[in-house]
Amino acid sequence: MKKILPLLAFSTLVSMPAAADKLVVYTYDSFASEWGPGPKIKKAFEQECACELEFVALDDGVSILNRLRLEGKNSKADVLLGLDNNLMAEAAKTGLLTEHKVDTADIRLPGGWSDNTFVPFDFGYFSFVYNKDTLLNPPKSLKELVEKQDDIKVIYQDPRTSTPGQGLMLWMKWVYADQADQAWKQLAKKTVTVTKGWSEAYNMFLKGEADMVLSYTTSPAYHIIAEQNNQYISADFSEGHYTQVEVAAKVKSSTNEKLADQFMDFIISDQFQSAIPTGNWMYPVTDVPLPKGFKQLTVPSKSFSFTAEQVETNRKTWIREWQSSLIY
């Protein structure tokens, strides 16, 4: 123990509370990056609060939760931005989050919203995106992608670190139930690589390393609006698409409660929400007008999701099922 004492002394020195007017938000890298909505939102919020907003960028959504769990009560985070509907029960169970004070009456989500801990900030549907000039005969269903068309190469994300990756895992489970392990094995033959986060996967896809990438039905909007490019299409699958609602939550150990509350309110403000469609390329959760390019997108005719409790109960088993199917 002797050895720990000087370390402890040192740690109290380093971990002195930072200046009270800085809000630390853990998020994923594509949100915080210069081409994401982060910079715009940072600027708008800093003007409103006369404080500093710091984004800490992690690999992807699940990494945010993992990081918080590793840091435990000593976390520097005030707010987590980028968990999703599937992770809510597991995140709440850590006891590291606290209830928000946001009035969520204005939120317009397909299934409505009532949760005391999590505030939604955008939503969308997972989907495989392809280039229509190079992939002439895209699969029409998840089953077709998995079982037929052996010449297709796909990239998806690791369910242990990424919320889209986890989304695919749940999507597969929804469609295949008990046969998911067989389906994973079939998909493995078409998989170029499994990346830690969404941005690596999407970058590799754009560089031509795969025919299809796991993303969102709204991703083509980026190419339509920012690049005037109509090549990229989201494949419409007949089984329906898995829904994701991305959420934010306050960290209990935060010493900045007031600022954190202010930020949580800011999330459903028009300023924040209007930065979402052309920043995070997702649907906003309030009534802000959508840009024109979004009208071109296909909205899935059928969508579904497990409850957060179902995911929480089974997540570990399902991840292990995915892992074990890939080792052969």
Partner: protein
């Protein structure tokens, strides 16, 4: 009296090491209730991970050492322009920051590497992928073949010239000479070399993390990391860490038993060409192996330099984040090297004083304790420390301190190995003189040791420095935005396919470690010669 006084420093250091390691170890035990290894074994995924760890180490060893034999053989009987430099490069691959090597390999064999571009020119596609087992094997051969070749070259060079002359007189064929003269002397070294390479591959972390990592190609070392970082499964992480410790310990004991490194008389390591009946085919054969080895080692290093000077250069070197990584890396490397050096010297002061009064066994044990990290890989120790301190404090702000401690521990065996013999010899020569002059403590160290064996001391320091500079395994668990080191930064860039920025960072890391290493050695050795 003096010997008692001299026992103290080593015992204090040994106490610290024991405290540190047992702290980590007990945290691991506490987190794996019941220490139920059956859990690991009944889980098909962990069974696969264990099997894969052995499988890839076995193949890596087979390829590295197997191919190193003809290379060492060819090098032993040829002298050519640039041989000295080639051998220096061979020595560099072992201390080279792993990710720099990996980057060089990616730049050649990767999906958009040199070979793929050349093939693309002729409308062919790269027939293999560097990710997965292929890449892991390639990288392990890249790092270990030159190392093995150097180790095998020593016994070949120490063969008496008479043996060569006799073979010429008898006119025996190359194959028979190899079988009758060279092989027996190689065979004595082989178990030792194979054991070393196997251990290095078995505990390899950064390579597997950068090139493998999918469920199919994951080693135990990486599974520990993933259990903690990806799954927040501290229990499995701790259990896997203990499992890795048991396996490494067992391996170390087996290797120790079956391979006593034969002490080499380094008298005839002259570069004089050995006499043998040369022939055209023999020349071609040797040329083939030497150029193949050169083609393995040189191009990746060249690519690091060439690719490093790209359009992103300015963007990277004007980034504050980059400089904070440089600062952290230097801080870690310098501190860890100093601590390792001081710790190593203190242990050796004690162990040699014991040796001089005949306590060989005790001296062996304390030196072995200094090398404990070989049985408990850096990642295992830092996992233990991580679990130990997690609930007490904010780990991520202590990151650099822990990394320094773990890296110092990792460098300690190299310090002890480098300095054990020289320190003992000095004591044998000067101990009586010193005590009659009443010289002790620091003044003695400065006047006697520093003057006489400065070269190995500086060498021990620079090895520790370079190792800590390039290490990823200790920082991997603790790294955060505030405490990124260059290897971690490079890993993040590689992971997000920012190849141009990664190239710049690789170049810097190469320069900071290898160039600094060469510089320190040069200055210190030169000074020494002048005196």
């Amino acid at each position: 009296m003096t010997s008692k006084l001299q026992s103290l420093p080593g015992l204090i250091i040994a106490g610290f090491i024991l405290l540190f390691v047992s702290g980590a170890f007990s945290a691991l035990l506490l987190h794996s209730p019941g220490f139920d290894l059956a859990v690991l074994w009944s889980d098909p995924y962990y069974r696969h991970v264990t099997a894969f760890s052995f499988y890839q180490s076995f193949l890596s060893t087979l390829l590295s050492v197997g191919l190193a034999i003809p290379v060492a053989h060819a090098l032993s009987r040829r002298s050519f322009f640039g041989k000295e430099l080639l051998l220096k490069l061979f020595a560099a691959t072992l201390v080279l920051p792993v990710l720099v090597g990996v980057f060089g390999l990616l730049a050649i064999y990767g999906n958009s590497g040199l070979i793929s571009q050349l093939l693309g020119f002729f409308d062919y596609k790269l027939p293999f992928s560097i990710y997965g087992l292929n890449g892991i094997l390639l990288a392990h051969v890249f790092f270990n073949l030159p190392f093995a070749a150097r180790l095998l070259l020593q016994p070949l060079q120490s063969l008496p010239v008479e043996n060569h002359k006799l073979s010429v007189h008898l006119g025996i064929s190359h194959w028979n000479k190899f079988k009758l003269v060279e092989w027996p002397c190689l065979r004595q070294q082989l178990p030792h070399v194979c054991g070393l390479v196997f251990m290095l591959c078995f505990t390899s972390f950064a390579t597997v993390m950068a090139l493998g990592g999918g469920p199919k190609s994951t080693t135990i070392e990486l599974a520990i990391y993933q259990a903690i970082k990806f799954d927040f499964d501290l229990q499995s992480g701790a259990l896997l860490a203990l499992w890795q410790m048991i396996l490494c310990g067992t391996l170390a004991v087996i290797i120790q038993r079956f391979s006593r490194p034969v002490p080499l008389t380094s008298t005839t390591t002259s570069s004089e060409p050995v006499p043998f009946c040369d022939s055209k085919s023999a020349r071609c054969w040797d040329l083939l192996w030497i150029s193949a080895a050169a083609a393995l080692v040189i191009p990746p290093l060249l690519m690091v330099i060439i690719n490093g000077l790209n359009a992103q250069f300015l963007a990277v070197v004007t980034d504050i984040f980059f400089w904070s990584a440089v600062k952290n890396s230097l801080l870690v490397a310098v501190s860890a090297a100093f601590i390792a050096l001081i710790g190593g010297v203190l242990i050796l002061i004690t162990s040699r004083s014991w040796r001089l009064i005949g306590l060989q066994f005790r001296a062996d044990k304390i030196e072995l304790l200094g090398a404990i990290i070989l049985v408990t890989p850096g990642l295992v120790i830092s996992t233990g420390i991580f679990l130990l301190l997690r609930n007490i404090t904010d780990l991520f702000s202590l990151a650099l301190l822990i990394v320094i401690a773990v890296n110092a521990l990792m460098a300690l065996p190299y310090v002890i190995k480098t300095l054990a013999q020289p320190m003992l010899h000095i004591a044998q020569q000067y101990d009586k003189l010193c005590s009659s002059l009443g010289m002790s403590g620091f003044s003695r160290f400065y006047l006697i040791e520093w003057r006489a064996i400065r070269v190995p001391i500086v060498h021990a320091f620079s090895i520790s420095f370079v190792l800590s500079m390039g290490d990823l395994s200790a920082i991997a668990l603790f790294g955060s935005q505030d405490s990124t080191t260059l290897p971690l930064y490079l890993f993040q860039l590689l992971g997000s396919y920012q190849m141009d920025s990664a190239a710049v960072v690789s170049l810097f890391l190469l320069m900071l470690s290898v160039a600094l290493f060469a510089l320190i050695e040069k200055i210190m050795v030169k000074n020494n010669v002048v005196k």
